[in-house]
Structures are given as structure tokens and as C-alpha cells.
Symmetry: C2
Subunit: 236 residues, 2 copies
């Protein structure tokens, strides 16, 4: 298996980085190939802009997704985007590894999503959800957060964590066709003992050794909708 880990944390020695390293060593020990995009170390540019295209279909007015489609065809995507896109297309498994900032990804990682998941390859027209351009690949979201586990779930103060992660799990990863696995979550990380953190690392390693046994989360399939994307009514 080929694995791309996209890691975004402003502290190089964070526990989130330890999870990244645990993934690299566990997956390599199993014979998988692993590449890491460490966005802070790379000084990744997260800002989608007109500078992302060396030539433009319409130099007067920027429609970003349209220029992505043209950029794919004419190979005029910025070099940093193309390099990440090549890694993404190479990978069988994508791991997004990040600390929760405002119940979502840090801007650094959001900007990787904005710029790298290009229209024309990853999605476009009726190619989304199970028909998405990256179907056949798996994705795993691995997160650290400050909150305690009991603050999340039905009736809990923040509601289910997967509901907060919906734009990433469903709106992004499932949208482009990934089989999305249940997120790996390390809770309350800044406040727990080294032993508790070690336990998370061990759990994570064990989980990564058995990914092939997992069932992905359920998301919409285009066959459930008509040509205009209205839901098909099933007779009772």
C-alpha cells in the first residue's frame, strides 16, 4: 500500500507529530511505502489565488475551479500544487494528521485541501461522492484535541465529533470519492500524562496494523438521487 500523510502542526515536537511518526514506522514495518507532507516544515502556501496558474483561461476574472480544470489539461498548475497532487494520486491511503483548531483543520491544512483537490481530477460534473475522482482510495483523519471525550456525543455539550468534522469527512473526503474510515482521536492531549499519551500511540499503531479489516463510514451514493440530484423516492 502507498500512503500519504499530510501533517499540519505549528510545533515540530508536538504529540500530533508523534502520531505522524508512529504512523510512518508502523506502516513501513508492514511493508507499505509512506510519503509525508509536513506542511509547516514545507512552508506550504495555503492561499488559493490567481498565482496558482501559470496561464489562465480568463485572465480578467478568476473562477478558481474553472482555472483548475484548465490547469489540469494544460499542465499549468503551480508547481507546489502539482507536486502534492502527484503524491495524492500515487497514494492508496491518505492520512490527514492535525490538531483540531476551531472544530476543524488548521488553515494550513485547509489550504492544502483548497488548492490540491483540483476540479477536473478529484471531482467535477457528476463525479462526486461514490463517483468521485479519487474513488478506490481510503482516507483516515487523525486528530488531537484539548476537549475531553465526554464533551462529544449525542446530548454532550459539543455534540458528536463526527458532526463537527462533517465538512472534512463528508464534504471533502467522501465528496471526492474516498472510502473514509472512522477518525482516530486523541482526547485532552495537552492535559494528560505521558503514560496516557503513550497509550494513544500504542492504540494508533495497533489500529493501523489492521486497517484492512475496517468498514468505511456510510455516505450518500449518487444512485440514490435522480439526474437533477433530487432524492429518489423509494416506495414503502
Amino acid at each position: 500500500m502507498k500512503v500519504l500523510i499530510v501533517h499540519a502542526h505549528p510545533e515540530p515536537n508536538s504529540f500530533t507529530a508523534a502520531l505522524r511518526d508512529q504512523a510512518v514506522s508502523t506502516l513501513e514495518a508492514q511493508g507499505h511505502e509512506v510519503q509525508v507532507s509536513d506542511l509547516y516544515a514545507m512552508d506550504w502556501n495555503p492561499v488559493a489565488s490567481r498565482n496558482d496558474f501559470s496561464s489562465r483561461g480568463n485572465p480578467e476574472y478568476l473562477v478558481y475551479a474553472l482555472e483548475q480544470r484548465l490547469g489540469v489539461k494544460s499542465q499549468s498548475l503551480a508547481a507546489d500544487i502539482q507536486a502534492e497532487l502527484d503524491k495524492l494520486l500515487w497514494a492508496d491511503l491518505l492520512i490527514l494528521n492535525f490538531p483540531i483548531f476551531w472544530f476543524s483543520a488548521p488553515a494550513m491544512l485547509k489550504g492544502w485541501i483548497d488548492r490540491v483537490l483540483v476540479s477536473g481530477i478529484c471531482y467535477g460534473g457528476k463525479r462526486f461522492y461514490d463517483q468521485g475522482g479519487l474513488s478506490g482510495k481510503q482516507a483516515l483523519v487523525t486528530v488531537t484535541l484539548g476537549g475531553r471525550e465526554h464533551m462529544f456525543g449525542e446530548g454532550a455539550i459539543h455534540g458528536p465529533l463526527q458532526d463537527m468534522l462533517r465538512p472534512i469527512l463528508r464534504g471533502t473526503l467522501a465528496y471526492v470519492g474516498f472510502d473514509v474510515l472512522e477518525p482516530f482521536v486523541a482526547w485532552h492531549v495537552p492535559y494528560i500524562s505521558d503514560e496516557a499519551r503513550q497509550a494513544f500511540l500504542i492504540d494508533y499503531g495497533l489500529r493501523l496494523q489492521r486497517l484492512e479489516d475496517e468498514q468505511p463510514l456510510e455516505f450518500p451514493r449518487l444512485a440514490q438521487f435522480d439526474e437533477q440530484l433530487y432524492p429518489l423516492v423509494v416506495d414503502a
Copy 2:
């Protein structure tokens, strides 16, 4: 009323920018004071990093929220953050004005949230949701998107738009104490006629003239939870 509009779109002449301008003219005509932070025009830096603090509590290991708290006390936040924070604290109403990228905010705006909503002022300890540091202020999310309205809602292919916007509406704006109004949504913008776009601008202007009649969305209140933030059980 004092209003801060935070606008993030890579195309200066976008319809999203027209919504920004409509808000400025409508609100100013009503006698309100308006400031605009146009993040692309400002070349805003969206990356939360060690560079955000002119002095550090712990120069060896970055815990971003901890350094924010110290930075507030010692006035060592980066100048660009402090300038935005001053505008935010000045405002009675915050409008986030952006195109939906991946069912959420562009990285440019996410990085404004990551860097400007500092711990120690906007939230901290038990100061969140209705007890958040920005309570008493209102927030409105104004978005443009490519999808059609029938693709969102219960049973629709993408589910309710407010569920996709949950990390922003609940996890960010309500979390820091804002009264969060129902989002203003301009659907299917790249594909509609100029007349249809004009109709959105008119609707938006009318809505902004009557914001004082609106009831905010409902979110958790801390009184519903115990000291450890477990939900209080109400006897039937």
C-alpha cells in the same frame, strides 16, 4: 451599531464582493459604522505559528492557545493579529462574507479565525458558548456557493447546509459567545443570470435593514451542564 465585515474571496470583482458592498452601503445608509477587512486585499497571513508572538512564555515548545493568553496580557501579539482583534472588539456585529470552499471557509478566512479569536479574550476556561468572551455581539455568515438549494436540506444529497457550517456557526461563532443569525445564502451563483444575482443583492439589503427583528439560532448554554460539562439530567 458598529459592524465589522471580514471578506475573503480571491477574485476582487466577485459576486461575493458585491454582497460585501451591498452590506456596506445598506448599513451605512442606516447610520451604522462599518469597517471591512478584505483579507486577500490585505495579503492576510492565515498561518498560525510561533511568529505570532513577539515574546514567548515557552520559547522551546509552542502551545498556541497558551501563548495567545500570555500575548494578550503582555501585549506581545503580532501587530496584524492585534489590529484585527481591536476591530473585532469594537464591533457589535461581525459579518463573515465568503464563498463556500469545501463546505467551509477558504483557508484565508479560516486563518483569520485561527489567529484572531485569541484565548484569554474570546474564550478560555468556562467562558464559552453563552458565557463566551464575545457574548452580547451578533454574528452573520454570508456565503455564496455553486450548489443548488435543493441539494441541501434533510434527505438532500449534501444534507442541511447548517450542518455543514456547524464548525463555524456553533464551533466558532456561538462558542465565543456571539448571537449567531441564520446564514444568508446565495445559491448556484456561478450559473445564474445577472437578474437572479441582483435579486440576491436586493434580498440581502432588505434583510440587513431588519436584523434587529431576528431571533438568533439556538445553541447550548452552560447552565444545561454540570461543573465537569456533563449534561444535567432533567427529571421527566
